[in-house]
C-alpha cells in the first residue's frame, strides 16, 4: 500500500529537508532538473513553484504531484512517499572464519545504499545487519554530482558519511567492543570517506594518487567507542573502480577461476571485470540511472507498485507488480523485460524505434513506456555492452566463448537473464549467468574473517588487475555506438 506520512513544520528545517530524512531521494542533487524526487500531496498545501511547473505537467500538478527537493509548507501536510522504499541487497551466506575472537563490522559503502554487517569473528556468523540510504544522495545520485558538490563545499560529504556509518556501527555493536571495521566502496566513496581530494577524479585522465587502503582510529573519524584494530577502507583498483569490485572478485572467486570469468556490477556507475589467464581487466562505464528506474518517465525504484517482471502468456502481457498493489511505475528489471517483449512482438525495431507510428508501449493500468524511455535504455545498455565487449577482446576472448558471468548489485540480482540477453545487455549467449547478490559486502566479510591471509589475497588481485580507461578509448566509442542498437534476433540460449 502507498505509504502516507504527515509532516509538521519544524523550525530551521524545510519540508524538503524532512522529506529527505524520510528517504525521498533527490537524483539530481536537489536542482529541480530531473523531476525524480516527486511526491504526491494528499492533504494540506505545498505551493507550486515556477521550477515545479517546468518539471511536471499541469495534469500531474493537479493530482497533487510536487517536487520534494523544492517543497515548502507552513502547516502540516500529508504526502504519499511510498515510491521510495528501495530493496537493499544484503547477504546471508556463511563463510568459514580463521580462529579469532570478538566482533567486527563489514560495510558496503555504496553510492546509493549502505549495508553494514555485525560479524562474530569466531564463528563467522552475521549477528545483525543495518541498511540505509547514503545520506550524500541529498547532493546528487551519481558519483560525478558528488564530486562536483565536494569541490564546491569541501568536507561536507565526508562528515555526512562518517557520521552516518558511525551511527550504523554504534547501533549494531550496541555497546559491545569492536575489534575491527572493514569498508569497501567505489573510488569516489573511498575518497570522500577518507577525506582525500576528489579533484583528480573530476577530469581526464581520472587518475587519483590516493588509491591505497587507509586505516583510521575511531577517534579520527569522530566515532565515540574505540575500535581495537581501527577502521580500514580497502584499496581501489583504478579510475572509478573501487574495492567494491575488488571484494566482488574475491567473493565470486573470479581471481582463482581456471576458466575465463566476468563480473558485472550494473549500477549507475557500471563496473566490469574480465579475468583470463591470470590477468584481470577492469573498467567502469557510465550507464546512467535507467537500470534503477531513473530518467524513465514512469520509472521508479523497485518498491511497492513497481512493475518488476513482464511475461507474454497466450499473446497477452502479464505484468508482475511488487507488493501486489496497483501499478504505479516500472523499475529496471521490468524495463528490460518490457524491451525484450517489445522486440519479440515487433512493437520496437532493433533500432529502438517504436513501430507502426506508435507513440507509446502500454503495459498495464496507467503504466506505459514512451520512445524516449527506450532511448534511455539503449544508452545504458550500450555503455555496459560496449565496455564488456572491449574488455573481453582486450583479454583475448570472444564474448561468445565466455563460460561464466557473475552479476553483482541489486539490478543484476533481479534482472531476468533471458531478457538481458534479448536486448543485448549480456552479449555472451553461452555463458552461465550467476546472480551473485551483494558480493561486495560478502567479499569484505571474507577479508574480515581471514586477517592473516588478507594482505596476500589483496595483493593477488591488485597485482593481476589492469584498469582500462574507457572514455579515452577510440574502440570503446565506436563500439558504444554499435551497441546502442538492439540485436536483430534472439540469441540462442
Amino acid at each position: 500500500m502507498p505509504r502516507h506520512v504527515t509532516i509538521e513544520p519544524k523550525p530551521g528545517q524545510t519540508l524538503s529537508d524532512q522529506l529527505f530524512d524520510l528517504g525521498v531521494e533527490f537524483p539530481c542533487g536537489g536542482g529541480s532538473l530531473c523531476g525524480g524526487c516527486r511526491v504526491r500531496l494528499v492533504a494540506g498545501d505545498v505551493p507550486v513553484t515556477e521550477a515545479m511547473r517546468e518539471a511536471l505537467s499541469d495534469r500531474e500538478l493537479a493530482v497533487g504531484w510536487r517536487l520534494a527537493c523544492l517543497a515548502q509548507a507552513s502547516a502540516p501536510v500529508t504526502l504519499e512517499v511510498e515510491q521510495w522504499s528501495p530493496r537493499i541487497l544484503t547477504d546471508d551466506s556463511r563463510l568459514t572464519p580463521e580462529s579469532r575472537h570478538g566482533l567486527g563490522v563489514a560495510i558496503d559503502l555504496g553510492t546509493t545504499t549502505l549495508v553494514a554487517e555485525l560479524v562474530d569473528l569466531h564463528t563467522g556468523e552475521v549477528l545483525g545487519v543495518r541498511t540505509a540510504l547514503n545520506p550524500q544522495g541529498r547532493h546528487g545520485a551519481d558519483v560525478m554530482s558528488r564530486i562536483e558538490f565536494d569541490l564546491r563545499q569541501p568536507g561536507a560529504l565526508t562528515s555526512l558519511i562518517r557520521r552516518a556509518l558511525g551511527e550504523m556501527v554504534a547501533s549494531l555493536a550496541s555497546g559491545a567492543p569492536l575489534a575491527e571495521v572493514l569498508l569497501c566502496g567505489n573510488t569516489v566513496m573511498h575518497h570522500l570517506f577518507c577525506g582525500e581530494s576528489v579533484e583528480p577524479l573530476s577530469h581526464v585522465p581520472f587518475h587519483s594518487p590516493a588509491l591505497e587502503a587507509r586505516t583510521f582510529t575511531a577517534a579520527e573519524l569522530g566515532w565515540p567507542a574505540p575500535i581495537d584494530e581501527g577502521v580500514t577502507v580497502l584499496p581501489c583498483l583504478g579510475g572509478f573502480v573501487g574495492s567494491d569490485l575488488l571484494c566482488g572478485l574475491l567473493a565470486c572467486g573470479v581471481h582463482t577461476a581456471v576458466a575465463p570469468t566476468a563480473l558485472l556490477d550494473l549500477g549507475t556507475n557500471g563496473e566490469i571485470a574480465v579475468a583470463h589467464q591470470g590477468r584481470i581487466l577492469c573498467a567502469s562505464t557510465a550507464a546512467g540511472p535507467a537500470f534503477e528506474g531513473g530518467r524513465i518517465r514512469m520509472g521508479m525504484r523497485a518498491g511497492d507498485g513497481a512493475i518488476d517482471k513482464i511475461e507474454v502468456v497466450d499473446d497477452a502481457l502479464h505484468c508482475h507488480v511488487i507488493g501486489g498493489c496497483a501499478p504505479r511505475g516500472i523499475c529496471g528489471s521490468g524495463l528490460v523485460d518490457a524491451a525484450a517483449v517489445a522486440l519479440e512482438t515487433g512493437a520496437v525495431a532493433p533500432s529502438g524505434r517504436l513501430t507502426d507510428g506508435q507513440r507509446t508501449f502500454p503495459l498495464t493500468g496507467p503504466v506505459e513506456l514512451i520512445q524516449a524511455d527506450f532511448r534511455e535504455l539503449q544508452l545504458a545498455k550500450g555503455a555496459i555492452a560496449a565496455g564488456f565487449d572491449l574488455l573481453t577482446s582486450r583479454a583475448g576472448l570472444e564474448p561468445a566463448s565466455l563460460p561464466a558471468i557473475h552479476l553483482a548489485g541489486a539490478f543484476g540480482n533481479y534482472v531476468r537473464t533471458a531478457s538481458a540477453r534479448r536486448i543485448g545487455l549480456l552479449p555472451c549467449p553461452s555463458a552461465t549467468v550467476h546472480p551473485s547478490g551483494n558480493s561486495a559486502v560478502r567479499g569484505a566479510r571474507g577479508l574480515l574473517l581471514s586477517p592473516s591471509r588478507r594482505q596476500e589475497q589483496l595483493n593477488t588481485i591488485l597485482s593481476a588487475t589492469e584498469h582500462i580507461e574507457l572514455g579515452s578509448d577510440r574502440d570503446f566509442q565506436e563500439s558504444f555506438i554499435e551497441q546502442m542498437a538492439f540485436p536483430d534476433i534472439a540469441p540462442l540460449a
Binding site: I147, H203, Q477, M484
Partner: protein, 212 residues
C-alpha cells in the same frame, strides 16, 4: 544522368559508399557543386534532423547519416574552394579541457557541415589556448563548446575568458551545449547561445552568423 534523389536517400539511410559514388558521378556529369549540396545534401540532413527531433532516428542513425554526408562532401569541397564559393560560416568546435566525450560534439559538427558550414574540429579535451589559436588562424565567426560532465563545465567559462584575454572575444559568437549544460549556465558564463540538441545547434549557428 546522376540522380540527386538517390543521393539524398543514400545520405538519409547512412550509406556512405553509395553517397560518395553518386556524388562523383554527378560531378563527372558536370552538375554544379553548389547544386549538389543544395538540392541533395542540405535537404537530406534537414530530413535527418527532423527525424531525430521526432524521435524516429537515434544517435546511431544520425551518426551513420553524418558519415555518409561527410563522404559525399569530400569530392565537392576542393571544387567549392577553387570556385571561391563562401561557406555559410566558419565554426571552430571542440569538447572542452578535461572532457573526452566527443559523440555529441561529432553530431553537431556533422550537422553543421550538412548545413553548409565550414567546420574546424579540434577534437576532445581541448585546452582553451587551442581554441584561441584556431580562432586567430581561421578567422572563424563561431566557437562551439561541448561538455558532457558537470565537472568539466567550468572549462567552458575559462575558454571564454581565454578568448577575452586574447582580444578575440568580440570577433566570435560562442555557443555551448552538452547534457548537463543549461540556458541559465550559458547566460552565467557569458556565452552567446545555447542549444539543447544537435539539430537546434544548426539553427542557432545560422541565426548567429547573420550580420547584425
Amino acid at each position: 544522368m546522376a540522380d540527386l534523389r538517390t543521393l539524398h536517400d543514400a545520405i538519409l539511410e547512412g550509406n556512405a559508399k553509395q553517397a560518395a559514388a553518386l556524388t562523383q558521378e554527378a560531378l563527372a556529369e558536370g552538375l554544379a557543386p553548389l547544386d549538389i549540396i543544395q538540392q541533395a545534401m542540405v535537404p537530406a540532413m534537414d530530413e535527418v534532423g527532423r527525424r531525430f527531433e521526432c524521435e524516429e532516428y537515434f544517435v546511431p542513425e544520425l551518426l551513420l547519416s553524418a558519415r555518409a554526408m561527410k563522404a559525399a562532401l569530400e569530392p565537392v569541397r576542393p571544387l567549392l574552394v577553387a570556385s571561391g564559393i563562401q561557406p555559410a560560416g566558419r565554426v571552430v568546435i571542440g569538447t572542452v579541457k578535461g572532457d573526452l566525450h566527443d559523440i555529441g560534439k561529432n553530431l553537431v559538427a556533422a550537422l553543421l557541415e550538412g548545413g553548409g558550414f565550414e567546420v574546424i574540429d579540434l577534437g576532445a579535451d581541448v585546452p582553451a589556448q587551442k581554441f584561441v589559436e584556431a580562432v586567430q588562424s581561421s578567422g572563424a565567426g563561431i566557437v562551439a563548446l561541448s561538455a558532457l560532465l558537470t565537472v568539466t563545465m567550468p572549462s567552458m567559462k575559462s575558454t571564454i575568458e581565454a578568448l577575452d584575454h586574447a582580444g578575440v572575444r568580440s570577433r566570435v559568437k560562442v555557443i555551448v551545449g552538452g547534457a548537463p549544460v543549461t540556458q541559465q549556465f550559458a547566460d552565467q558564463i557569458g556565452a552567446d547561445g545555447y542549444s539543447e540538441n544537435a539539430t537546434a545547434a544548426v539553427a542557432l549557428a545560422r541565426r548567429l552568423s547573420q550580420p547584425a
